[in-house]
């Protein structure tokens, strides 16, 4: 029984990462109907930013680990948001201005992701970076289970982030504007709402979440390498779609669903089959219900 609960805890932690990243995908898709394929790599960039920030504060500036952590969280999120927004301004907005076909923007996103990955590899080299320890690990044991304080922090952070996002999207004016744009982006400016600002805000939120996920991930699994965002990014993306892309509840649920699936599979099957089986199950879900669990099919007028 402990085995099951232990795995549930692991899945909750692993799912938190997927969920945080998936939220970013879904926010951007919900507003722009764009799959920001570069998002997984923004997560990677976030992890590296956290690394440099932490090393800077710990090393050069000689701050203590807790102070570093407290400063690193907002700084990472802000800087990662900057990266996301830059991507939007430089690559996506010009295409939007031209009224380019969505396909071109998606391809651009895919290519930006590749550039980030390989640019990282080219500039920083293939050697892995080791994230410094910022939080002293305490292990809580109860009822035969053990959980580190970090795991708890990660899980709680994910839930809080979701709650905050849910609040913003459903209860604030800007959230309504975000939802409005996805339905009719021509009507929104006519209502006096600046579309570009909303879009920037969306990227800020999404990339910020990715940055936060990057920091937490670096703390949990302290080895960084340039392609770390690629696989996790793809999986988080698929999770968002399975949950129903465009709906943040779907992204959140999808992230955990995928994690439970993976942990569950790894517990039963040899671990090399983990990704394979997870992907296959997702493929089957997509076959049966392409719009995902929370998704609503956009009705085409004949």
């Amino acid at each position: 029984m402990e085995f099951v609960f232990q795995n549930i805890l692991n899945a909750l932690q692993w799912g938190s990462f997927y969920a945080l990243i998936a939220l970013g995908y879904t926010l951007v898709y919900g507003v722009l109907l764009l799959i920001n394929f570069a998002h997984g790599d923004i997560f990677m960039v976030g992890a590296y930013i956290a690394y440099f920030v932490a090393t800077l504060f710990l090393g050069t500036m000689g701050l203590g680990p807790t102070a570093t952590l407290v400063l690193a969280v907002p700084l990472t999120m802000i800087l990662t948001s900057c990266v996301g927004v830059t991507l939007e301004r430089v690559a996506y907005r010009p295409l939007r201005r031209k009224g380019a076909h969505r396909l071109y923007v998606v391809i651009t996103a895919l290519m930006c992701g590749l550039m980030l990955e390989n640019g990282n590899l080219a500039l920083l080299g293939a050697s892995r970076k080791y994230f410094p320890e910022l939080m002293e690990k305490t292990v809580y044991s109860f009822a035969g289970l053990s959980v580190t304080n970090l795991k708890v922090v990660v899980i709680i952070t994910a839930f809080i982030a979701f709650a905050v996002l849910q609040f913003i999207v459903t209860r604030t004016k800007i959230g309504m504007a975000m939802r409005g744009i996805s339905w009719d982006k021509f009507a929104i400016p006519l209502m006096g709402i600046p579309v570009d600002s909303i879009i920037v805000f969306t990227f800020v939120l999404g990339s910020g979440m990715a940055g936060l996920a990057g920091l937490l991930f670096a703390m949990a699994y302290p080895v960084l390498e340039p392609y770390m965002g690629a696989l996790i990014g793809w999986k988080a993306f698929i999770a968002a779609v399975v949950g129903g892309i465009g709906d943040i509840r779907g992204a959140f649920l999808g992230g955990f669903l995928l994690a439970f699936l993976e942990i569950g599979v790894a517990a039963v099957f040899p671990s090399t089959l983990r990704d394979l089986i997870a992907f296959t199950v997702l493929l089957l879900i997509m076959w049966r219900k392409p719009t995902g669990i929370f998704g609503v099919a956009k009705h085409q007028k004949i």
């Binding site: 380019a100 969505r102 396909l103 923007v105 651009t108 290519m111 550039m115 779609v241 992907f279 493929l283």
Partner: protein, 337 residues
């Protein structure tokens, strides 16, 4: 007579290349570049069928190439070599000289069947959802092979070379060059015949207005199925050729990067333009070779090229026209409309 001029020209070109290779006048490096070029032509034009003519968004073309590469290699080893895996060759190795196409056919058929996996979802969904499915299939194929230690798993597969050697024993010719060129011209030929027929024009109809196509008696599901199967089947053939040219297979070489290469060629050439895919495959291969000294920066520059393309000339080199649209007098020189 004049109408066959293009075919004759291509034949002459092929013979010249083969001749020069045989004589050793062009070195092995250049030969391999030409072969990769031809394989890229197959990949590019077959993906263009789906992404260009049919307007879908398939991101997993590498997966089908992978299927074909492995099936082709295994068939080759089974039929023509004495391998650890399969034991003695089923057929006398010398017969590879004219029976090698079985390997290609087998690879193509299995890859075409794999194409059904992405074709069926495409009946009901388009665009982004299909992109995910194709990505997932690409990944699943690689992952599945990595888990099959019997065919090498992540360490890779080798053992195709003896087949080529066996062909060389019979007659000393640059066999892979011959097969690759046959495969390349054959693929382009098939695709051309498909899309210029009324049958194949249904693909454009489905792309431009699927509802109108349904109403005008086009069986849209069948068209999608057939087109996906032709596309992935030809990618499989490309894979089998690739496997025999390189002599070693690693599942990781058919991942999203390979699929991206194919996509770059399609969008560079122009969606829906067959001549565009051929030209861009040639250009792209040369570009990749030119960038080789830059090593990892290559993979920063290639995506950048595509980004710039999307910004400034999304319709690619040829737009959606063919060479014969730009140079109408060329029409006199080939046999199909």
């Amino acid at each position: 007579m004049q109408r066959y001029a293009l075919n004759a020209l291509l034949l002459v070109l092929a013979l010249v290349i083969i001749g020069l290779s045989q004589a050793g006048a062009i070195d092995l490096y250049v030969q391999s570049v030409i072969m990769f070029m031809a394989i890229n032509v197959i990949m590019s034009s077959s993906l263009n069928l789906v992404n260009g003519n049919m307007g879908e968004f398939s991101c997993g073309h590498g997966g089908f190439m992978c299927v074909g590469a492995y099936v082709g290699s295994l068939l080759s080893m089974l039929l023509f070599t004495n391998s650890k895996l399969f034991g003695a060759a089923l057929l006398p190795p010398a017969t590879a000289v004219f029976l090698f196409p079985i390997v290609l056919l087998g690879a193509g058929v299995v890859a075409a069947l794999a194409g059904i996996i992405v074709a069926v979802p495409s009946f009901k969904t388009r665009g982004d959802y299909l992109a995910i499915i194709t990505l997932a299939v690409n990944y699943i194929v690689i992952s599945a092979i990595q888990n099959l230690d019997v065919i090498g798993g992540p360490r890779g597969l080798t053992g195709m070379r003896p087949t080529i050697a066996a062909m060389g024993d019979v007659v000393n010719l640059p066999w892979m060059m011959i097969w690759v060129l046959i495969g390349c011209f054959g693929s382009v030929f098939l695709i051309r015949r498909y899309i210029s027929s009324t049958y194949g024009k249904g693909v454009n109809a489905v792309c431009q207005d699927e509802i109108a196509a349904e109403i005008m008696s086009v069986d849209t599901n069948r068209i999608k199925l057939v087109t996906f199967m032709i596309s992935s089947g030809l990618a499989g053939v490309a894979g089998a050729l690739y496997a025999h040219v390189v002599g070693y297979l690693n599942p990781g070489s058919f991942d999203i990067l390979k699929s991206t290469e194919a996509m770059v060629m399609v969008y560079l050439g122009g969606m829906g333009s067959l001549s565009g895919s051929v030209i861009s495959a040639v250009v792209f291969t040369i570009l990749l070779e030119a960038l080789r000294p830059l090593q990892i920066y290559k993979w920063v520059i290639v995506p950048l090229i595509l980004i710039l393309l999307m910004q400034f000339r999304p319709e690619g080199i040829m737009g959606n026209k063919e060479l014969s649209d730009l140079f109408p007098r060329m029409r006199k020189y080939f046999t199909f409309k």
